[in-house]
Symmetry: C2
């Protein structure tokens, strides 16, 4: 479109993703112009240490991110990460009418409300496909494709590092510590792996997915979060023994009807539950085959039924692809004076605390191999009102392995059951206690 | 949004999908209003026989589709199917500035250029998520999420009827005829199954996917099309013997560099190839596990890498979900005076004819079990410049089975090779010849 005023872009941050964004903007310039209807021009790149970025044009580099945001750019692309100064910069951009494309899951999971309000005050766009599951189109399907349906469940593997570690433990039988070490050595885990292994990254993503799926503001603080550091080789072995495997899942559910008795939710007829925790899933489940650094997300909706999205969940190029897709969308919106979807949080569903969210459990015990053991154990379950779905007992040389899978029970009921069982003289060891997902209850 | 002017919708057609559209519009009315920013109001439903539609409000029914399109509606939703009178009605709608949501793959695969031009003449929207793979968000990811990337390949199972039949043949060993009969009895195949089993439906979808993926107008006539009627129980058995299964695939590829010598494409450095045919794929391939009426599509892009989309590819509710998602999008665009993506066909890449598109082949022969047979057969391959990738020979009582998998070869070279091999005295029967996909060549 010769003659068409270019869309000017400010890039904040130039790490792995930023460098790829610059490369794609350069390599695909002609295509992007045709797709947007105007040239897309990189106006500046804000970095902390300009001399560390020899792979991008030096004349675009600046250390003054604020001045870049305040300049006459149309779009701000943010790949710095972290909460501050990013939050302040993006609020400033949106309040001055600049559209924002961001990959910042932590920021969105804390401050999306504030960011959307800033966008609304000027009619600017806020896009964030790259914030969840890298290149896999997931935000747009939830926010747009399924906007006429009623989403009931989103369940997926959204963190590559923990998936790499759990896949490794499953295939080698090694411990969590050994496998984490290997992942760090190979570059799949960061030097400080906390954000990944303790589930913070997955919890941010779960908050974003739940917000979109249920038209409700959900922040990271609303997400029940358990990491993988407690997953033992015994858990993995116990899962294998029953044709299951262990994955760190992010689960967002719409729950109808009662079951909650918190005062503030007493009158609600619908709740949501958002959680991140390791769980055993059947090896035949499509998520079981998602290995290494790949991500996959299941979505269930009333009319659409079950869908799955699969692909590379992280990395410079895949994340940059998602950023560029959003950049094309917001730039197109500028050209036609249109606007993308706004925040949709009208439903404002209450979040049900994990203590009231029943899930199924897999419990593996070492027990004495003699008559009456099963009935003693079963009596404890009955006493706590935890219903047993399946039992498998196998004799060994001088003891027996007893595996119990429950029907849905709350954490509290399960914990008291397990505590009491652990104290029975016939039970030698509670080998593994883990949630079970992906099966009919 | 009380006080906001409603978005008036005309529905053309009220079969399985239309009925579900009406149901969702009614059941989700409050949600749709909140998501769109204005009430979405069904203004009329055009049908041929009003007395046959007792499940929708009688006062909305009309037999005069043209008058409904000409009335003061904002959006026309089309679920009639077929080319005429649909084409004329939609052109009329778009030319008078009404946005169109359609599920009509055959119409889009023939006339999308004309429809987009009509939309462009007034700035109306043309959305068609429901035209390919039912509820699976696929159009929006290709058209928007990957708009900043370079898509190299789209390969998938996009027809549920043929997939149901091939899954059935694979699990029972029954013939094509028997399995088709069963599919018809169960309602998975229509009384006249031609559009499905001869690949017309999949070819329309392939044309739509290729158009979006490669920013090029591709019509059904550009698609090389082979159906499944020739797939024999012997083909299925031969596939099984080597850990493969047979699927009807739609494949859209970007091919760089030479290899074509048609005059009109002689100077092009890039081509596309679009085809629908049965092919053997490894049982370990993610598409191999897609059974029955499900659809799944692989997409590969330079930066994003490999992605897969999976879900229900047909049926009233899933298709209606896709229609409603589009309806929310075009209605939102009306509310904010914005506009969705326009046709993007600027790349205008030449389509390479199938005769020049090399693919790999699996050939299964019954041969005499005596020395020298393999060398005679191999010599014929060498003579036609078809390179052999793998061979497996197995002796039986008085003959032998010889399976050959080739490297990529053109149809023409393969056909002459097979013709000549069929004439060799040592070859008793050419049991099966079929393309192989989803493996490294």
């Amino acid at each position: 479109m010769p003659g068409q005023k270019p869309i000017k872009v400010a890039l904040l941050g130039c790490g792995t993703v930023g460098t790829e964004v610059v490369r794609l903007l350069t390599d695909h310039a002609a295509d992007l112009t045709a797709r947007v209807g105007a040239p897309v021009e990189l106006a500046g790149i804000a970095v902390r240490r300009p001399n560390k970025h020899r792979e991008v044009p030096a004349e675009l580099l600046t250390t003054d991110a604020q001045a870049l945001v305040e300049s006459d750019v149309d779009v701000v692309v943010e790949v710095i990460g972290g909460i501050e100064p990013t939050r302040t910069l993006l609020l400033q951009a949106l309040r001055s009418g600049k559209s924002v494309v961001t990959a910042n899951k932590a920021l969105l999971a804390e401050h999306s409300g504030e960011l959307f309000e800033a966008a609304d005050s000027t009619g600017a766009d806020l896009y964030f496909e790259a914030a969840v599951a890298g290149a896999i189109p997931l935000i747009r399907p939830l926010r747009e494709s399924l906007a006429g349906d009623r989403i009931t469940r989103v369940m997926g593997i959204v963190n590559g590092t923990t998936n790499f570690i759990l896949s490794g433990m499953d295939s080698t039988g090694a411990s969590y510590g050994e496998t984490l070490e290997e992942a760090t050595r190979l570059g799949y885990a960061e030097a400080d792996p906390t954000a990944d292994v303790d589930g913070f990254d997955a919890a941010s993503k779960a908050a974003i997915l739940a917000s979109l799926a249920f038209h409700t503001r959900v922040t990271a603080a609303d997400v029940h979060r358990e990491g993988i550091a407690q997953v033992s080789a015994a858990d993995i072995a116990a899962a294998k023994g029953l044709g299951r495997t262990v994955k760190l899942l992010a689960i967002c559910e719409r729950v109808s009807g009662g079951g909650a008795d918190r005062n503030d939710t007493a009158n609600a007829s619908e709740f949501i539950s958002v959680r991140v925790h390791p769980a055993m899933i059947p090896r035949t489940h499509p998520l079981a085959g998602v290995n290494g650094a790949f991500n996959a997300v299941f979505v269930e909706a009333d009319a659409a039924g079950e869908m799955m999205f699969y692909g590379k969940g992280a990395g410079g190029a895949p994340t940059a692809s998602a950023v560029l897709g959003d950049l094309v969308a917001v730039a197109r919106n500028r050209v036609v004076s249109g606007r993308g979807p706004r925040e949709s949080a009208y439903a404002a569903l209450p979040v049900r605390p994990m203590g009231q969210t029943p899930t199924r459990y897999h419990i593996s015990l070492d027990v004495a191999d003699r008559p009456g053991v099963l009935s003693q154990v079963a009596a404890v379950f009955a006493e706590h009102d935890v219903s047993i779905a399946a039992v498998r007992q196998e004799g060994r040389v001088d003891d027996a392995s007893l595996v119990i899978v429950t029907h849905a029970a709350t954490d509290a009921a399960l914990r008291s059951t397990v505590d009491k069982i652990g104290g029975l003289p016939v039970v030698r060891d509670v080998v593994s206690v883990m949630r079970v997902e992906g099966e009919e209850s």
